[in-house]
């Protein structure tokens, strides 16, 4: 459990250096409600810092908004989604993520922004604009929603195209604070100073520079090298675990796979939904070859308006029956939200292979005899 002393925060399983809590405090104590942009190279502790910051902010604000731009290592959603989530409860354990239903999200359909930086940015800007419209009083937000700070977590891709994307984000959002985390490998860090400013123009944000928690004087490691792929799989599985009541006994991956294989799916007439691949041109005659046994974003087609299709969550296209003209989809999204969904967005979010090969129920896409 979290316990709050006078000036220090102590969480289970994790050590927070003083530098970090100071930084978090300095962000939290500003007015108007801060918009904090957390950036830094891979494995520097951006996510952990963001969680800390959210908790510190929650001591002062009823609600905190969280804009998650790290499609590969998402915080509250399964991977591939860009989301804006509001949090009203302090998380006691900073070392694990948990799933929350976002206030608004878009399905980007890949684990890195590199496949389509333009769309990636457009989605993020749309989410930020949504935050401004809803929560910033000066922009016409309702008074009841006043005082909701925003924390923006970013990816660790800080070089090349990744850097350009980061700069574009800061320029559009103009945060009140930019928290930059440094690691000991100097050449992997972001440039010193307010790197996003060109010729002194641009947003005047308060820059806070901290060192990665790995370098703390106890020499205790906060960060464990993550197996990103495994974490993604776990996140997808935890997401689809929600298809079943929480009191149902599913504790192992095997049990989940078995339960999913037996779970009665939604049966959707093919004629009533659109199917779109976000990153590939799939010929119409091949759509089902492409779609079968993949993870899709369940989206609401915005019917010609310039808005992007809102995403309600993810689904697994578990089978397609072209004779009955139906697609079978498994999803934990509540039925009320599903009724609006008329668009299946396919991307490159891989279905965890352990879900496909439970004994006795081995998917045809899992094959033996593949040359190494």
């Amino acid at each position: 459990m979290a316990s709050f002393g006078d000036n220090e925060l102590q969480f289970d399983n994790i050590f927070i250096p003083e530098e970090w809590s100071d930084a978090a405090d300095s962000v939290a104590t500003t007015w108007p409600p801060p918009v904090a942009f957390v950036c830094g190279p891979k494995n520097s502790g951006k996510t952990t810092f963001s969680r800390l910051l959210v908790n510190v902010l929650l001591q002062r604000y009823k609600k905190v908004a969280y804009l998650d731009t790290d499609v590969g290592q998402t915080e509250f959603t399964p991977p591939g989604l860009l989301s804006l989530t509001t949090i009203d409860k302090i998380t006691s354990d900073l070392s694990i993520p948990c799933l929350k239903t976002p206030e608004r999200c878009f399905f980007f359909g890949d684990i890195s922004s590199k496949r389509d930086p333009k769309t990636y940015l457009a989605y993020i800007f749309a989410l930020y604009d949504h935050y401004r419209r809803t929560y910033l009083l000066s922009n016409g937000g309702s008074p009841g929603n006043a005082g909701v700070p925003l924390v923006i977590n970013t990816t660790g891709w800080v070089k090349g195209i990744g850097y350009d994307i980061l700069v574009d984000m800061i320029k559009h959002i103009s945060p009140t604070h930019v928290v930059k985390i440094y690691i000991s490998a100097v050449n992997k860090n972001l440039p010193a100073g307010a790197f996003w400013l060109d010729d002194g123009n641009g947003a005047a944000a308060t820059l806070i520079e901290v060192n990665s928690a790995r370098q703390d004087y106890f020499n205790r490691s906060v960060l464990v090298q993550k197996d990103a792929c495994l974490l993604r799989d776990l996140r997808v599985m935890a997401y689809f675990r929600q298809c079943f009541p929480s009191d149902m006994k599913i504790t192992t991956i095997k049990e989940l796979s078995r339960a999913l294989a037996a779970h009665p799916p939604y049966e959707i007439p093919i004629s009533s939904i659109k199917i779109k691949h976000l990153h590939c041109e799939v010929p119409k005659s091949e759509v089902f070859y492409s779609l079968n046994a993949t993870i899709v974003g369940l989206a609401v087609d915005s019917e010609g308006s310039e808005n992007f299709p809102d995403c309600m969550g993810l689904g697994i296209v578990r089978a397609i029956d072209t004779f009955k003209h139906v697609v079978y989809v498994i999803t934990p999204v509540p039925k009320s939200s599903l009724q609006k969904v008329d668009l299946l967005l396919q991307g490159f979010i891989k279905i965890p292979t352990c879900l496909l090969q439970v004994q006795g129920c081995i998917s045809p896409y899992m094959s033996a005899d593949v040359l190494p």
Binding site: Q242, T252, I253, H263, C280, R318, K324, Q339, L356, A368
Partner: protein
């Protein structure tokens, strides 16, 4: 909706161990048949449409995100060659005239080949790309092209053209051929061998236990039986159809109770004097043991037996009564199979309460298996009835028992009538001296099937009308949970039998909105017309990738679809044709004029049989 991730954090080793033990990898194709057919099309230089088809499918594989790099690069090179006037003399608007563009394309593809394939084999950056490439035998020319292309001038078109051919040859020898051979080696033969071995082992042990219960042999302890049984059950869960087919084969084999399981490896020979009753008695304990654990097995076995009878009868009919030489055993075999069916059905009936206890104790999956699925029973009943039309009382009896299990009184009553009717029929035939001639026998048979056909046709009509009505009701919401569902692997559709599921047919079909409106008379009309149109357009369609021309035949097949789907939504046998194509080797291929005619005729019969 808030839940912790922690519940799932098992030791990562667990995740990989399971994958490794089975040695499975995620692939973008649904079967090796699909892969093989695409391989074949991709290298069919003489037929640009089939190359184009293969390229299209491979780009679909790309969209699934798990394509092996060798497949990816092969497709790229073939695609570029298809745009190069040098490789493809007759080119439409497809040709790429700019030499510069062509060399850039070739060069990029070759760079991706060298980097992509080598990167996988090169663990650390300890050795150079050239060394690593050399180790797997990539032609030197490709490495040079990569080097020139990345660091120096763009290589000449002449050079990269030559290199592209070498690259394809190397890819064939490095990936396509070895991969093809690996699949072959693993084929079902090994699997069947293992199943056979385990079944015989179990049979042998049980036999020994029965006869020498006084001095138990160490070799055949109870443990061994359980172990063999577990192995069989495990095989059954992964490949039920194979287990059942081997079991059936074994049961049909000459079974001399004295030398079971002795020398049963030799070819299937059937003597006049075998008694299926004995054979069945030998296997009964095994069947009971297995079905206690896996009640599905009996259903699957029954279905397999019925299928076998069906194919046998089909071949007898085809060959005619005169072709006796090779098929002398067939009637006997059919008799044996029918007896077997009767026994299985009898077992099924007794199994019901047993299943109850067993699974309740087991706890797992109990809800789904507690009772035999109605749809399955219906399907079996349908088949029994159909096959019993050839004076097969045993099957008729089986059908009766199944009907009783389904608990439909009116149905049982009708069946009883039908049963007595057919007995009466044949009695007349036998009492009449002239009926010994095969002619009149044949006649009565035909009459019988005609009558049945008429009944079935009426049923179809009714169903079509009914189908139209129900279709219109369900328009409220599109997200509805499927009413019936059976556990099956992700990517497959549930199968009425077994837990293996069936492969879906993924070819695109257009909406059947137009069809739904027409009355049944019109349906038959369009169906007829469809055949004609199909024949007329088939020639054009043969090598034409233009999908518009397929439209007509497509409509035609949609009728078939609706005819096929029964109320429970189980279509176990995929339609033979779609869009004027045939499923060959797992892929839809276009077929010729005459073939289509034959199919159309066959399919009509098929619908009639299927529809009851």
């Amino acid at each position: 909706m808030e839940s912790s991730l922690l519940g799932f954090i098992e030791p990562p080793a667990n995740v990989t161990v399971e994958g490794n033990s089975l040695g499975l990898k995620l692939v973008p194709w649904i079967s090796w048949d699909e892969w093989n057919s695409i391989r074949h099309s991709l290298f069919s230089h003489s037929s640009p449409p089939s190359v184009a088809f293969a390229l299209q499918r491979i780009s679909t594989w790309r969209s699934r995100g798990c394509i092996p790099v060798a497949v990816d690069v092969t497709a790229s090179i073939v695609e570029i060659q298809q745009k190069d006037p040098f490789f493809r003399k007759v080119l439409g608007g497809d040709a790429l005239q700019s030499e510069e563009m062509l060399s850039m394309l070739y060069c990029m593809a070759i760079m991706r080949l060298v980097n992509g394939v080598v990167e996988k084999t090169r663990k650390k950056a300890e050795i150079s790309i050239a060394e690593a490439a050399n180790a797997i035998g990539i032609p030197r020319m490709l490495i040079d092209v990569r080097h020139e292309g990345s660091h120096r001038d763009l290589p000449s078109l002449q050079l990269v053209r030559l290199a592209s051919t070498k690259a394809l040859d190397w890819l064939k020898s490095y990936y396509w051929e070895p991969q093809k051979n690996v699949i072959r080696r693993d084929s079902t033969a090994n699997l069947r061998k293992e199943i056979k071995h385990k079944l015989l082992e179990m049979a042998f042990c049980l036999k020994v236990k029965q006869t020498n219960s006084s001095h138990t042999l160490e070799k055949c302890s109870k443990k061994q039986i359980t172990r063999a049984m577990k192995a069989i059950l495990r095989l059954y869960t992964s490949s039920s159809s194979e287990v059942v087919s081997v079991l059936l084969e074994l049961m049909l084999q000459t079974v001399d109770s004295s030398n079971l399981p002795g020398d049963t490896e030799n070819a299937l020979t059937i003597h006049e004097n075998i008694d299926m009753h004995n054979a069945y008695d030998d296997w009964k304990p095994i069947l009971m043991k297995l079905s206690n654990r896996e009640p599905d097995l009996l259903l699957t076995l029954l279905r397999a037996a019925l299928d076998k009878i069906e194919t046998m009868e089909a071949t007898t009919h085809e060959l005619g009564a005169n072709a006796l030489s090779g098929n002398a055993n067939e009637p006997l075999l059919i008799g044996q199979l029918s007896y077997l069916c009767e026994q299985i059905v009898a077992n099924l009936k007794t199994l019901k309460p047993l299943t109850h206890n067993d699974l309740a104790a087991d706890g797992e999956d109990s809800s789904r298996k507690l009772s035999l699925p109605e749809a399955t029973l219906q399907e079996l009943l349908r088949k029994c009835l159909y096959l019993s039309s050839h004076d097969n009382y045993q099957l008729m009896k089986s059908a009766l028992v199944i009907a009783q299990m389904m608990g439909r009184n009116s149905f049982i009553h009708k069946l009883n009538k039908l049963c007595s009717l057919s007995v009466f029929d044949t009695e007349i035939i036998h009492s009449d001296p002239s009926t010994n001639s095969s002619e009149s026998f044949q006649l009565s048979r035909e009459e019988d099937s005609l009558r049945q056909a008429a009944q079935k046709l009426e049923l179809i009509m009714r169903r079509v009308v009914k189908g139209n009505n129900t279709n219109t009701i369900d328009t409220g919401s599109r997200w509805v949970v499927a009413k019936t569902w059976k556990a099956c692997p992700i990517g497959m559709l549930p199968h009425a039998f077994g837990s293996t599921g069936r492969l879906p047919i993924l070819d695109f079909v257009d909406d059947s909105a137009e069809f739904a409106k027409s009355s049944d008379n019109e349906i038959l009309e369009t169906y007829k017309c469809g055949c004609k149109r199909e024949a007329a357009s088939a020639n054009e369609c043969l090598d034409n990738p233009n999908m518009k021309k397929m439209r007509k035949t497509q409509e035609n097949m949609e009728i078939g679809r609706d005819f096929l789907s029964d109320e429970n939504g189980y279509n176990d046998v995929p339609l033979e044709g779609s869009k004027g194509r045939l499923m060959i080797d797992g892929v839809w291929k276009k077929v010729s004029n005459e073939e289509l005619h034959d199919i159309a005729a066959a399919v009509k019969i098929f619908y009639l049989n299927k529809a009851l």
